[in-house]
Amino acid sequence: MEAASVAQRRAAPALGVARRRIGEDAIRALLMLAALVSVLTTVGIVVALLRETLIFFGDVGVFEFLLGKEWSPVIQPQSFGVLPLVVGTVVVTGLALVIAVPLGIGSAIYLSEYASEPVRKTVKPALELLAGVPTIVFGYFALTFFTPNILQDLATLEVSIFNALSAGIVMGFMVIPTIASVAEDAMSAVPWSLREGAFGLGANRLQTSTRVVFPAALSGIVAAVVLGISRAVGETMIVLVAAGQVAALNAKVGEPHFTMTSYIAAVSKGDLAVGSIQFKTVFAVGMLLFLITLVMNATSIRFVRRYRQVYE
């Protein structure tokens, strides 16, 4: 009888929930804490920018800042109209896009629709290498090679040593890998059956690429371009080194231009006194820059989602 009860006890193992393991819960909490670091980073960025920006707007009116046409935060008489910095950013970004959009999308179509596997396997890493070159190197190249040798000697243009044209074109090449790689992903995601259908109807590669694959991947390609714009807007070193440091409210590409990013870097190069108006401008301009890129990234993410939803 006693033996039976022992056997019974042995035969009925606890198959229910195991005892709660405190260690497991602690580890889960710890991992979640690590994930929170990235959330805190965003909160930190917003808090840092907002705090000083609000103080800045205590000294300078919001409309004076956003609509003012003169930017002279250091030299008297002081003036805090951010438009010249915005125009400089738009000019350089525009030049970069003129280069990066056609070359990036062209490269993407070739890699996705024409290139053989070995070509793709060697060219893609080369483009990634272009993306990995530090932007200070692009800046050096724009200032010491592209402006004097290409723009002034080869193209015989009347440009200053520091000019927006050189910075914009070189920045365009920096942005190409971003656009090419995202656009290529979008086109590769278009199902083969669509291409086969087009070929079956007698279309050649040109017609298939431009009338079937390109429209089908359009939202991904738009996302690539928006991401490229956001990279160009946020790029600092090329502009700081090669585009000069003059807040100019014009679109003369052969002349020096400040952008939002290059202003921030240029003014914080010296040790800024906390509480000085120059210190506050760093945050106000930074806030504007952050908001612009935030809107672009959100747009880009939305477009990427759309093409994912269709084909996966």
């Binding site: 393991r21 497991e24 889960r28 991992l31 979640m32 690590a34 994930a35 929170l36 990235s38 980073t41 965003t42 930190g44 960025i45 808090v47 840092a48 920018l49 070359l103 990036g104 999308i105 062209g106 490269s107 070739y110 024409y114 990995g132 070159v133 530090p134 932007t135 200070i136 190197v137 800046g139 050096y140 190249f141 010491t144 090679f145 190409i176 890998p177 050649n204 590669r205 040109l206 431009t210 946020g234 600092t236 070193m237 700081l240 080194v241 990013t261 921030i264 870097a265 914080s268 040790d271 760093v282 945050f283 930074g286 952050f290 935030l294 672009m296 990234n297 959100a298 880009s300 993410i301």
Partner: protein, 292 residues
Amino acid sequence: MSAIGSAPRAARLRAGAFRGVLLACLGLSVLMLVVILVDIVLDGMDLISLNFLTNYASTFNQDESGIRAALLGTIWLMGVVAVFIVPVGVATAVYLEEYADSTRWFNRMIEVNIQNLAAVPSIVYGILGLAFLVRGPFGQGNVVLAGGLTLGLLVLPVVIIAGREAIRAVPSSIREGSMALGATQWQTIRRQVLPAAIPGIATGVILALSRAIGETAPLIVVGAATFVAFDPGLFSSFTALPIQIFDWIGRPPNENVDFPALAATAILVLMILLLAMNTVAIWLRNRYEQKW
């Protein structure tokens, strides 16, 4: 005569021209990379020497000038970045892939947030570092630790995204097998999932470091010094390779020192470091990549 003839000449010409244009796009992009690399090598080759690596920067004597402080500063910074991003990045990746229920708003917010952070301009991270790591109640001043943490926050998304991909690539049959043998979730992750994902994670960490090593703008904002004539430590002020390069680019050459040439030489050293890191990353990926 067969109904299916060859395409008309004009159409074939157009198709050929289109192909040619596409090839030119790609060719021009790659050509630019080649021109940049050749330009750097030609400009920087003459001054490179062992002295250049071991001497402090000098404004008087070109042949005595070097990148000792900048190189040490960069090594210190990369050390801080690595110590910060490896645990935090891997832990975040593990949480998001193995624990988080992606239908809950909280976890979705973390994911969208990381996507957004990856595209915030680097100079904005510099402002973050300036406000909280350099100045403010917990501020350390313009020291290596503040600079390194700023760069770490900047490249953290790279590690998280690469880590998640590596963890996702481990098939669920491995996890199920481990669980069926009675392992707890954490035991499964630590003994099965993470070891299998290490090559992918390591590749991501190296890519993050190679992004961080060339970042200049955030370091300018957190106040990296341009002239340092001592070996930096964790709590000392510092300079770094890209900062030294930036400083040299900005100085006009005089009769004693050709500063742009010094800049090119320092760029050459930076590019060689980058190339070495990328080579290790590619080697790791090819050597240890597992096909399940």
